[in-house]
């Protein structure tokens, strides 16, 4: 994960509350097998609306999303964070985030910054008056700068430290690789292993075929 200390980019005002993860990325996109390439899926249901904020040229290259309260509620799908990141967002600012979304963000290097409702209103006004205005988010100082406005934001110490060090959960755990190896060394040898593979003799599995009887379904709607 890249280290995050400061980011400057175009601010995008999303004047909506309760943006759930189904709105961030609809379920139909979950059947994909990749972790990247979800940019087209972000806010898919809204992207068809020409007045939607990301469809306006000045905001299209945005990387700091400024949203209403209760962002990221609903399904735990990690695809919501992937879609935001793939689009190019580095920071989401809101008054309140859903727990799971905030957790997923921290794991993926997306900063979920909590600011006050008044400050967000102030930033929205600047972004709407002068579309394309850049926002600077300083994680070290925990400040958001938008034009001449400088406001504080909150993020928990543990997440801030991980983001600033560029540590993902896996990276963090691997810092303790020695302890994992020590655990493995004292782990009972008789505990089962999948390899080398053991199984009953291989047998040919016959394919079941359609019964031939037409299945009339949905008879009692």
């Amino acid at each position: 994960m890249e280290k995050f200390t400061q980011h400057t980019g175009v601010g995008v005002p999303l004047r909506r509350s309760n943006v759930d993860t189904d709105q961030i990325i609809p379920a139909v996109y979950l059947k994909r097998v990749t972790r990247t390439g979800f940019e087209d899926a972000l806010f898919a249901a809204w992207r068809g609306d020409p007045s939607f904020v990301l469809n306006q040229e000045a905001y299209a290259s945005g990387s700091v999303l400024v949203a209403g309260p209760d962002f990221g509620t609903g399904s735990s799908r990690e695809h919501a964070v992937w879609a935001l990141k793939d689009y190019g967002f580095k920071v989401v600012i809101s008054t309140r985030f859903a727990d799971i979304f905030r957790g997923n963000s921290g794991k993926q290097g997306l900063l979920a910054a909590v600011a006050s409702a008044e400050d967000i209103e102030l930033i929205w006004k600047i972004l709407e008056t002068r579309p394309g205005t850049e926002i600077t988010v300083d994680l070290e100082a925990r400040t958001i700068t938008c034009d001449d406005v400088v406001v504080p934001f909150q993020v928990d110490d543990y997440t801030r430290w991980r983001l600033m060090e560029g540590l993902d959960d896996i990276g963090l755990t691997l810092e303790h690789a020695d302890e994992i190896s020590e655990f493995e060394a004292r782990r009972e040898a008789w505990r089962p292993a999948t390899l080398p593979a053991k199984h009953l003799p291989a047998v040919e599995i016959k394919a079941a075929r359609p019964s031939g009887v037409p299945v009339e379904i949905g008879r009692r709607p």
């Binding site: 735990s76 008789w190 053991k198 008879r219």
Partner: protein, 484 residues
């Protein structure tokens, strides 16, 4: 210090204690993988240039998307085909053992682990699937994880975890005839609610639990997640040790003796304290069915569809109204009068050989109700082979049922096995959410015995409704069926 079963298994796997509220780092003994929740995890490894740390503690199989017909032909659905091919490619690239469609060891991941003897007492078992709780029946600490966590386990064989709370669920006495372990767990969920287990590891105990077979115990632990719990466990005993004996990966010889000695310590101490304790009397249980759209909306089969006006709690009333409307039922309607279109016998909850045997016993020599389709889908290819060796397939086919290849199938309808809009099923699976078995489909969760009787009569029925008295069709007492 006195401890619960869950705490003992936890403590034995702590690689590193988290300081200052940071989570403990736990070692994972067995990581099961399937095609739906793993592709992004493997891609994450690839992007970071990381290997799978312990391929020898990892096992992949194909189950969620796999068809149950024509498995020797290319998979028709492109998305399913891609997900399965991706898993095969990833397994080859990262050196992970895989049992693919058509292989004798393919099947639902929660059947494959136990039948190979890989699921053992005292292990930590994870999988990107919420029904991983099934493996808790062996006294393992087993739970479902998300895709990031799948990647984390692949890369490190560990997981950072905040401690769980513990709940003891004691089921006293013996089950009456015709009631099964499925009825126990449906009754528990109806009692504590779909959120009742949130944040807890459940431990099931008492005479009604310890007298169950391994497979029946798996049915109970499987549905712990439907009570909102992270995991469910049952202390290992002679039944557990006997089940493992002779399985391909069973620990044997001197190691086996050492293992059994250790396994015998895996039980909650008499003076261990649980955060919550719940008690049920097995004598009170009868066949249970769900009438609504969450697994907590269940009642004894002798009951009737609830009347929302009589529900005091407003939230519950509104939920019941919506569920009754979706299900196309009438308040006050006796559950026994509900006609079904489809009977689904299968899934990681009730697709094992004992389930199939008990269904076969009830339906042998009979024919299904004319306008009902009956799908029998074994949990794994080995279960299918075993059933065929016992002649159960012929009983099902003579009955008018379809005998399919193994997989998750209609439990969640990711493959072509789905309900049509408005179609109603009696299903031995685990979730009755709106649209779970197909868009607009209506699901009643039932035990295999109720499924069998329902297939014969066409309406939700218990074995007793068949009017054949106590003896099962082959003359053996019905009590033989209670290991279900």
């Amino acid at each position: 210090m006195a401890g619960t079963l869950a705490e003992k298994v936890w403590d034995a796997h702590v690689v590193r204690h988290g300081a200052d509220g940071a989570p403990d780092l736990l070692y994972i003994d067995l990581h099961l993988v399937h095609e739906v929740t793993s592709p992004q995890a493997f891609e994450g490894l690839r992007l970071a240039g990381r290997p799978v740390r312990r391929p020898d503690l990892t096992l992949a199989t194909e189950d969620h998307n796999t068809p149950t017909l024509d498995i020797d032909r290319p998979i028709a659905d492109e998305t399913s085909r891609t997900q399965i091919q991706t898993l095969r490619n990833n397994a080859a690239e990262f050196g992970v053992r895989i049992h693919s469609l058509g292989d004798a060891d393919q099947g639902i991941v929660h059947q494959v682990g136990p039948q190979l003897g890989l699921t053992q007492p005292g292990l930590t078992v994870v999988c990107g699937d919420s029904h991983t709780s099934t493996h808790g029946a062996f006294g393992a600490l087993a739970f479902g994880i998300g895709t990031s966590e799948v990647e984390h386990v692949l890369a490190t064989q560990t997981l950072p975890l905040a401690p769980f709370k513990t709940m003891a669920i004691t089921v006293n006495g013996r089950l009456p005839e015709g009631a099964t372990s499925k009825d126990i767990i449906l009754a528990i969920i109806a009692k504590i609610g779909t959120g009742g287990g949130q944040g807890y590891v459940l431990e099931y105990r008492g005479e009604a639990i310890s007298t169950l077979s391994m497979e029946a115990r798996m049915t109970i632990c499987n549905m712990s997640i439907e009570a909102g719990a992270r995991a469910g466990m049952i202390a290992p005993d002679q039944t557990t040790f006997d089940y493992l004996k002779g399985r391909p990966h069973a620990t044997e010889g001197a190691d086996g003796d050492a293992a059994v000695e250790y396994w015998k310590t895996l039980k909650s101490d008499d003076d261990a304290t649980f955060d919550v304790e719940v008690v049920l009397e097995a004598e009170d249980l009868e066949p249970f069915v769900t009438w609504g759209t969450n697994p907590g909306q269940g009642l004894p089969l002798s009951g009737s569809v609830p009347v929302p006006e009589l529900i005091a709690d407003e939230n519950e009333r509104v939920t019941a109204e919506r569920a009754i409307e979706y299900m196309g039922l009438t308040p006050g309607q006796p559950l026994r009068e509900i006609k079904v279109d489809t009977v689904f016998i299968g899934s990681c909850t009730n697709g094992r050989i004992e389930d199939l045997r008990s269904v076969a016993k009830v339906v042998a020599g009979k024919h299904k109700a004319d306008d009902v389709r009956v799908l029998v889908v074994p949990a794994s290819a080995r279960v299918r082979l075993q059933a065929e060796a016992e002649g159960l397939d012929k009983i099902f086919l003579d009955f008018g049922a379809e005998w399919r290849n193994a997989g998750c199938s209609m439990c969640l309808g990711m493959n072509p096995d789905q309900l049509a809009p408005g179609e109603r099923s009696a299903s031995t699976s685990n979730r009755n959410f709106e649209g779970r078995q197909g868009k607009g489909g209506r699901t009643h969760l039932v035990s295999p015995l109720v499924a069998a009787a329902t297939a014969i009569r066409g309406t939700l029925s218990s074995y007793a409704d068949l009017g054949t008295g106590t003896p099962a069709p082959d003359g053996s007492p019905l009590s033989d069926l209670q290991t279900v």
